[in-house]
Structure formats: structure tokens, C-alpha cells
């Protein structure tokens, strides 16, 4: 598609990159068909093609973001379904990332919106604060219906609704330091302990460590790592996001330079998509570009890594598993086959729900910031999953687990929890009783 930027505008490397992305788009409109918000709202402005056009118009005219543009960009889930669909290879992810930073830098949001976003950015990436917040949420929950009455306060109500009844105990210190490895040593990996997942469901990483240890893989959690930065990155808070990225790069590089790492294992695909993008995010930082690229290259979803271990085939279990592929898994990282193959190989019967390419509406903080669209998508997703009559739902992203779990009575677990069970671990708690 034709673009019109001045040479001066193109001196900004971010604008230059967006221009290149825009030039690829031929405006064919295929992307509209698989966009969850277009399917929900039926307005091209809430489709990838509409957003691309809004962003193009804003950037070409060197204009600050305004209410209209912000409304439609905010409604984007960043699920990247459009990227899978696009035949032209438009890199929508980096275009919308740029737009979000531009919005953050040039637009002053209404007070309530600023407060909610500030709160999310100050709490979610920090496990201790998040744990405290969940404890407080218990006392706040009775007020949720009241908060829903005021549009600007609905995100707070959504937060209270999503908070689990009881916060899990702190992630066991068993994750710190090296684990005893059984059998022949086949590798050494770091695992991202991350932020929200370690509070909401520490069992996921514990299952991962157990499973890997059983197959001869040493797992380390280097001191100092934390949130990958995705949460703030998707809010356009780029300085904060890059701060998180640099810190993690430093931590992992120390480990790589010290004893070496075969992979950096991630058990939340939302984080995986971001860490695999560190190389791009830090490309303009001469001190970090190379190191970040190295880290990104080592980043691996747990299911990707497990396929390298040739796990033995297990007896059939007569358990129907509906596999929900997180958007960050299938669209962000293009991992579509591995998790299902692993589950089948481990003896589970895998069911593919209809409309598997559509987002469940979780999308990081989306279910808090856009509760209406999010709950429509959740209902659609749950309906499709329940139609497969599963005994259990498996997925690879904590956000989806929380979102879908809040809409169905069917237990939902992380893929790796089922695999740990199949290969000698305990039955996941949610499947007991």
C-alpha cells in the first residue's frame, strides 16, 4: 500500500520500521475475517485492517493520538490472529506495539483509566505486591456489583471478579537453585519463574521442574529474574518494558556465560512471545542488542523443548482433553502441533474445539481493561470448548486458564501438569476428587 512519510519522519527508526510494515499491506481484507473484535463488533475500525489504516493516518500526519484512535487500538487484543491469516506477511505485532507506545507518549487518558493502568503496572509484575492485592481483593469482592454501575470503574470490578478465592502460597523455594537430576544428564535449562503465574498457580512450574528432572534435565532459576515485561509492553509503557527485558537478559547472560544454558524454558506462552521478541525490542540498544538476540534464540516454550526429549509413548488414559491453544502460542509463537502431539503421545485423547483460532478474551490485562468484549469472547470460547465434552481443558498460558476457568466448571490445567502426571508425577489437584 502506498505510504507518505517525509525523509525527516523516516529518520526515526520506529517510524521507518512501521513504514516498512505498512508497505507490505495490500489492503486485501483477509485479516478482518479472523479478528475476534471484528467478529464481535462488526465494525472495520475494530479490525486489523481498520487499525492499520488508523495507525497509518496518525503516523503519516505526525499527529498525537486522539480519543477515536485510542478507542480502537485499545480494543485490539494483540492476539495476532491476523498475523497468522495475513498472506502478505504484514508484521502487525510490531506495528501495533509502535502505536501503543505512540499513544502512551502523546495521549493523556482520562483519570480513571490512568489510575487503573497505573495500578496494574505497579502490581501485576511484582509477585509480592500481587499476592497482597489478591488478599485485599477478598475484602473488595462484595463491592464489585457496585463498581460495575460506573463505566469508568468496571475494570476494577473485572479485577475483583477474576481474583481467585484464595491466593496460592508463595512459590516454593524448591525452584531456587539446581534440582537433583535423575538418570543421564541431558541438558541444563533456566526456567522463567515470572510474575503473575507464580502467584496464581505455582504448581505449573513445579510440575515442569519435576518432569524435566525425571528426564535428566537440570533446571535452574537464576537469582534476580522476574516479569518478562509483556504486561507493561502491551500498555505501551516501553521504558518499563525494556527495563524488565534488560534485567532478565543480564540474569540469563550471567548463567549462559557461567555454566551455560541449553534453553530458557517458559511455561506461559504470553511471556514466551515477548521473550522471543527481546532481540527486536532491544535492537536499538548497542549494549544489549546482541545479548538480547541470544536470549531470544534460547527462549523455548516448555512444549517445544519437550519435543526434543523424545518422551516415551504411554498407555491410553481414557481422558478427553480439550486443548485450547493460547493466541500467544499459536499466533505469537506459531506452536500449533507440539502440545497436542505430546498429549496424544502421553495417552490422552485430544479434542480440538471449533474456532480454535479465536482468542478467549484474556489477552494479558484485556479482560480487566475491556470487560465487555472480553466476556463475550469468553462465552464464545467456553461454548466451543464445552461442545467437545471434555473431562479436562489443557492450555499453555496462565491468562487463558484464569479467563476460561472463570466461565466453566470443567477443570482447566496447564499442558505440562498433564504430562507430569502421565510420566510419573501426581495427578493434578484439580482432577482429584
Amino acid at each position: 500500500m502506498q505510504t507518505s512519510f517525509t525523509p525527516e519522519q523516516l529518520e526515526d527508526p520506529h517510524v521507518a520500521e512501521s513504514e516498512k510494515i505498512l508497505r507490505r499491506c495490500v489492503h486485501c481484507g483477509f485479516c478482518t475475517a479472523t479478528c475476534p473484535t471484528y467478529l464481535t463488533l462488526g465494525n472495520e475500525l475494530d479490525s486489523p485492517r481498520g487499525r492499520i489504516y488508523l495507525i497509518k493516518d496518525m503516523l503519516e500526519n505526525g499527529r498525537a493520538a486522539d480519543e477515536q484512535v485510542v478507542t480502537h487500538i485499545d480494543r485490539c487484543l494483540s492476539c495476532l490472529s491476523c498475523v497468522t491469516t495475513c498472506p502478505s506477511g504484514v508484521d502487525y505485532m510490531h506495528l501495533v506495539d509502535h502505536a501503543r507506545v505512540h499513544i502512551e507518549n502523546t495521549y493523556r487518558r482520562p483519570l480513571a483509566d490512568r489510575l487503573v493502568r497505573g495500578l496494574l503496572a505497579a502490581v501485576l509484575p511484582y509477585p509480592a505486591r500481587f499476592r497482597t492485592a489478591l488478599t485485599l481483593a477478598k475484602f473488595g469482592r462484595p463491592f464489585a456489583p457496585l463498581l460495575k454501575q460506573v463505566k469508568a470503574l468496571r475494570p476494577l470490578a473485572a479485577m475483583l471478579d477474576l481474583a481467585p478465592q484464595a491466593a496460592a502460597a508463595p512459590q516454593s523455594s524448591v525452584l531456587r537453585g539446581a534440582q537433583p537430576v535423575l538418570g543421564i544428564r541431558r541438558g541444563r535449562v533456566a526456567i522463567l519463574s515470572g510474575c503473575a503465574q507464580s502467584v496464581l498457580d505455582p504448581g505449573i512450574n513445579l510440575a515442569t521442574v519435576r518432569l524435566l528432572a525425571r528426564f535428566g534435565v537440570e533446571v535452574v532459576v537464576p537469582e534476580g529474574e522476574g516479569c518478562c515485561g509483556a504486561l507493561v509492553h502491551h500498555m505501551g509503557r516501553e521504558d518499563e518494558a525494556l527495563g524488565f527485558a534488560r534485567r532478565n537478559v543480564d540474569v540469563w547472560m550471567r548463567e549462559i556465560d557461567n555454566k551455560g544454558l541449553d534453553a530458557i524454558i517458559i511455561t506461559a506462552s504470553g511471556c514466551g512471545t515477548t521473550i522471543k521478541d527481546y532481540g527486536h525490542m532491544l535492537r536499538l540498544d548497542p549494549d544489549y542488542a546482541e545479548k538480547a538476540a541470544k536470549v531470544s534464540a534460547l527462549a523455548s516454550d516448555i512444549t517445544e523443548y519437550l519435543t526434543t526429549l523424545d518422551l516415551p509413548r504411554q498407555e491410553p488414559k481414557r481422558l478427553n482433553v480439550a486443548y485450547h491453544s493460547a493466541c500467544s502460542m499459536q499466533h505469537g509463537q506459531k506452536i500449533t502441533v507440539a502440545p497436542k502431539l505430546l498429549l496424544k503421545n502421553a495417552g490422552f485423547t485430544v479434542r480440538d474445539p471449533a474456532e480454535g483460532h479465536l482468542c478467549c478474551g484474556s489477552a494479558g490485562t484485556y479482560n480487566i481493561l475491556q470487560p465487555e468484549i472480553s466476556s463475550e469472547l469468553k462465552a464464545r470460547k467456553v461454548k466451543n470448548i464445552e461442545a467437545t465434552k471434555p473431562d479436562v481443558i489443557a492450555t499453555g498460558n496462565i491468562g487463558c486458564m484464569t479467563q476460561i476457568g472463570s466461565g466453566t466448571a470443567i477443570p482447566i490445567v496447564h499442558t505440562v501438569e498433564l504430562l507430569d502426571w502421565a510420566y510419573g508425577g501426581e495427578k493434578p489437584g484439580k482432577l482429584k476428587g
Binding site: M1, Q2, T3, R23, R24, C25, V26, H27, C28, G29, F30, C31, T32, A33, T34, Y38, G42, N43, E44, L45, R49, G50, Y53, L54, D57, D66, Q68, V69, H72, T85, C86, P87, S88, G89, V90
Partner: protein
């Protein structure tokens, strides 16, 4: 932006009353159905014929036929042009608005109303995408046959407007052959039903008239289409040739022999490379041209038909014949073919021609096309429905180079004229839109055009429905 194709000058009395019109529209429809802020109108200024752009006056997104009728009644009474829009995937600019026009988007009318297996029909709202009909009935062994490459996104309303075709139309016919009825909102807001669940209706074939009328006779809000039972099996087979001319001649011989496969699709070398890069379907990269021939039926039927086709292909020195081995492979072969236009965006901007020629002239036209392209110093990728003689040269250019963009347009015009001169026509399935409007005189005599315009006038005397399209602006009477 290229300016060779003109739009009608906006009606000053409409522009002058813009804010009143918007207030009135907001009164007719719920607030979230009217878009009027300048920022938000920009994304509606074009469709997939992206070289041309015009800002609309407003966009409305109604949810019901009665809302559509209310908008039409109002616009008719106030002489405000209306441009219908489905998914905005037109390659001929059929959905490009103009400054004094209200864009009437059908994207929110996307419900499947009824599936009737007893009568083998589906009744759907106009904003339903083409593919979603086949998806809804696929589990029961049925499908909707016309399959434009944009079927994932394009709407039935748009398909009816352009009488769309697709790869599998060689056997099953185009939209008009699969359409049984429509609900049509006339220009003054009157709602009429045409056709139904039967193959013919008493009186004039108004359905035939509406199909392909490019939104100029009324607004289709619902359609009843024919469902077809899926064949026992289907097998796409790849045939590689040294040259495009050889492949073209082979197509002509297959059809001349009386064989009708489900589809015969053609790709030349540049198109093969583009599609392979996107779909990784395993197209042979060492051939000059490729045919995807799909046969269907029982194993025995498919074997017999293929044997005949392979025999003909051998007479044309076919280099490779590759049967696909699995359903996944077949799906990839079609995914690559159907994404060809979009995938071209990876290497260049393009405009896509849609001329149709008699099969006996296919080789000749292919050769002449490359000569025209060479003369303009441009590049071309050919990917098209060869069995129908429906050619799609994609003329590659750089949209940021105005001179090259102009050259591409001129070369396109020459190619389309070539198709007409070879005994063919300007458009096989994409519609005239604005793109081919000024070439209509090359295809038709004044009397022929006048007769078409007389039909149009019987539906819309004041030229408010999609007025800049189809007919040359001069001599409209």
C-alpha cells in the same frame, strides 16, 4: 495517488448539509451504528483496489433490514448517494465511496438465518462471509460452491453484487448459478423478495438482473443460496510445464476434449514462487508454469478422468505430474492458490486484472500480455482460473513511485482491451467497479450501454446507488 479514473463531482447541496444529514442518520439508527468523525471515516475510504481513495460523508452499520430500509428511504428523499459495502474486498473498487456518499456497511448483518437440507438451501444475511456458509454445513456433507479466493472474508452480499466466481466455478457455475432468492431494499426503502427456494419464478428473471448489478439496483440484505452435497472425494493434481503458452494450450485441449474437472488453475513462475513462499505447499519451483487440476467423485471416477487429463498433458510435454498424498497437502495447495493475491504483497504492490478470453486464445493472450508488460518495463505474475479462461495478470509495481503506478494502470488497460479484442470480456468475476468503467465503451456499443443504463434507471432514476461505478461518466444521459 493515481488520478486517471475520475469520480463524479460531489453534489454541493449534499456536502452543504453534511451536519444535518449526520444528525438525521443518528436519529434513524442507534448511536453506535453511525460513524462520522473524520478520523474514523478514513479507514472506509477504499477497498482492496487501494490505489484509489475517496472519503465518505458518513458510514452506517445497520443491524436489520428495516434499518437499511430507513436509511435508503431517507437518502432517496434527500438525493444522497449511497455506496454499499460488504467486507471491502473488491479488487475493482466497487466499495470505494465518494465525498457526498453514505457508506452502507452490511458487516453487522452476519447471521445465518436458516439451513434447509430438505430443499438444499441456506438463507443468510448479506454480511455473512462466503466461507462461513460452507463451514456451517460442512459437517453435514454440504457446501456452497462459488469460492472466490477471498472467500474467507468476502460477503455473500458482495458476491451477489459482483456475481463472483472462484476456482471451483468451472464445474458448479458462478454466483448467479447458485443464487435462488434475495431480499432487496429498493432505492426508496421499499423491501421486496425475489425468487425463493425454487429454481425459477414466474415473471421476469429479476434475480439474474440483481446478481452482478454492483449495488446499483438496490441493497441485498438477505440471500437464499443453493447447497451442494460434497463429492465422495476430491484430488488436486499439479502439472508442471516448461512455458506458460504450453500450459495454456493444454487447458484448451482438456476443455475441448469435453472433460470438465472441478477446477483448472494456472500459475506462472513468479506466481508459483510467491505462493510457495507463503503456503509451503510443495509447488514445483523448477517449472515455467503450473496447472492445479482438481478432479472429484469416486476413486474410479477420479482415476479415469485423471488418466485422460494426463494423456492430454503428455501431448503438451508436461514436465511433472504430482498427485497430492493427503488432505493436509490438498488444503495447503488450495491455501497457497487462494492467498496468491495477498501473498504478492510480500514482493510488490499490484493491480489485478480480470479479463476473460476464449480458451482457444489463452496461449496467445498470455504471450501478448507478457509483451505488453515488457514494453512498459514492468513485472507480472499470472495466477488464474484457466478452465474458465478467466485471467488474472497481477501487474507488479511500486505504489510509492507515481510514474510506475501510472504505467501499471496503462498496461492493465491494454491487457483488458487485448482480452476484449480476442473475443473475451473485461471482467470474469471482480465486477467493473471504477477500475474497468471507462473501458466499457471498448466492450459495448453506445446502444448496448444505453440499454443497460435504462434498466438501471428503472430502479434508481436519480443515480444515487453506487453512482460512480460501472458506466462511463460521460454520456449517461
Amino acid at each position: 495517488m493515481p488520478e486517471a479514473i475520475q469520480f463524479l463531482l460531489p453534489r454541493p447541496e449534499v456536502l452543504a448539509r453534511r451536519s444535518i444529514i449526520i444528525d438525521d442518520l443518528c436519529g434513524l439508527l442507534p448511536a453506535d451504528c453511525v460513524i462520522h468523525e473524520a478520523r474514523e471515516l478514513v479507514p472506509f475510504e477504499t477497498d482492496a483496489f487501494v490505489s484509489y481513495r475517496r472519503m465518505p460523508l458518513a458510514v452506517v452499520l445497520p443491524r436489520t433490514t428495516s434499518q437499511v430500509a430507513a436509511v435508503m428511504k431517507y437518502c432517496h428523499r434527500n438525493s444522497i448517494p449511497v455506496v454499499p459495502r460488504g467486507a471491502g474486498t473488491s479488487l475493482s473498487g466497487g466499495a470505494i465511496p465518494q465525498e457526498d456518499a453514505v457508506v452502507l456497511g452490511l458487516s453487522r448483518m452476519a447471521r445465518i438465518i436458516e439451513i434447509d437440507y430438505a430443499n438444499r438451501t441456506a438463507t443468510v444475511q448479506a454480511g455473512v462471509t462466503n466461507l462461513s456458509i460452507s463451514e456451517a454445513v460442512g459437517i453435514d456433507g454440504f457446501f456452497y460452491a462459488p469460492d472466490p479466493s477471498s472467500q474467507l472474508a468476502c460477503t455473500i452480499g458482495g458476491n451477489i453484487g459482483m456475481n463472483s466466481g472462484g476456482a471451483h466455478c468451472l464445474k458448479y457455475g458462478v454466483t448467479t448459478n447458485n443464487l435462488l432468492g434475495v431480499k432487496l431494499v429498493l432505492v426508496d426503502g421499499e423491501v421486496i423478495e425475489i425468487g425463493g427456494k425454487h429454481l425459477d419464478a414466474a415473471g421476469y428473471d429479476l434475480l439474474g438482473l440483481v446478481c452482478g448489478s454492483e449495488g446499483q439496483l438496490g441493497i441485498v440484505t438477505e440471500a437464499t443460496v443453493r447447497l451442494i452435497a460434497k463429492p465422495e472425494g476430491a484430488r488436486p493434481v499439479l502439472f508442471g510445464f516448461e512455458t506458460s503458452e504450453e500450459a495454456g494450450a493444454c487447458v484448451a485441449d482438456i476443455i475441448a476434449s469435453g472433460i470438465i474437472p472441478v477446477a483448472i488453475e494456472f500459475m506462472d513462475k513468479p506466481a508459483i514462487e510467491i505462493c510457495e513462499a507463503f503456503a509451503k505447499a510443495g509447488y514445483p519451483l523448477d517449472v515455467g508454469a503450473l496447472l492445479i487440476v482438481e478432479v472429484e467423485g469416486s476413486e474410479a471416477e477420479m482415476d479415469a478422468m485423471l488418466e485422460n487429463i494426463v494423456g492430454i498433458a503428455r501431448r503438451h510435454a508436461v514436465l511433472t505430474v504430482r498427485e497430492c498424498q493427503s488432505a493436509t497437502e490438498a488444503a495447503l495447495i488450495w491455501k497457497g492458490r487462494k492467498s496468491a493475491f495477498g501473498a504478492t504483497g510480500r514482493i510488490a504492490d499490484y493491480i489485478c486484472m480480470d479479463g476473460t478470453v476464449p480458451l482457444s486464445k489463452l496461449s496467445y493472450v498470455l504471450k501478448q500480455t507478457s509483451e505488453i508488460i515488457d514494453r512498459f518495463g514492468l513485472r507480472v505474475a499470472n495466477v488464474f482460473h484457466a478452465g474458465d479462461g478467466n485471467m488474472h495478470p497481477l501487474i507488479l509495481f511500486n505504489a510509492n513511485d507515481p510514474e510506475e503506478a501510472m504505467k501499471a494502470e496503462e498496461a492493465g488497460n491494454e491487457i483488458l482491451k487485448l482480452c476484449v479484442d480476442a473475443g473475451g470480456c473485461l471482467t470474469g468475476e471482480h465486477g467493473v467497479g471504477i477500475e474497468k468503467r471507462d473501458l466499457m465503451r471498448h466492450q459495448y456499443t453506445d446502444a448496448e450501454l444505453a440499454q443497460q443504463m435504462a434498466v438501471r434507471a428503472a430502479f434508481d432514476e436519480d443515480w444515487i446507488l453506487n453512482p460512480s461505478k460501472v458506466f462511463p461518466l460521460e454520456g449517461r444521459g
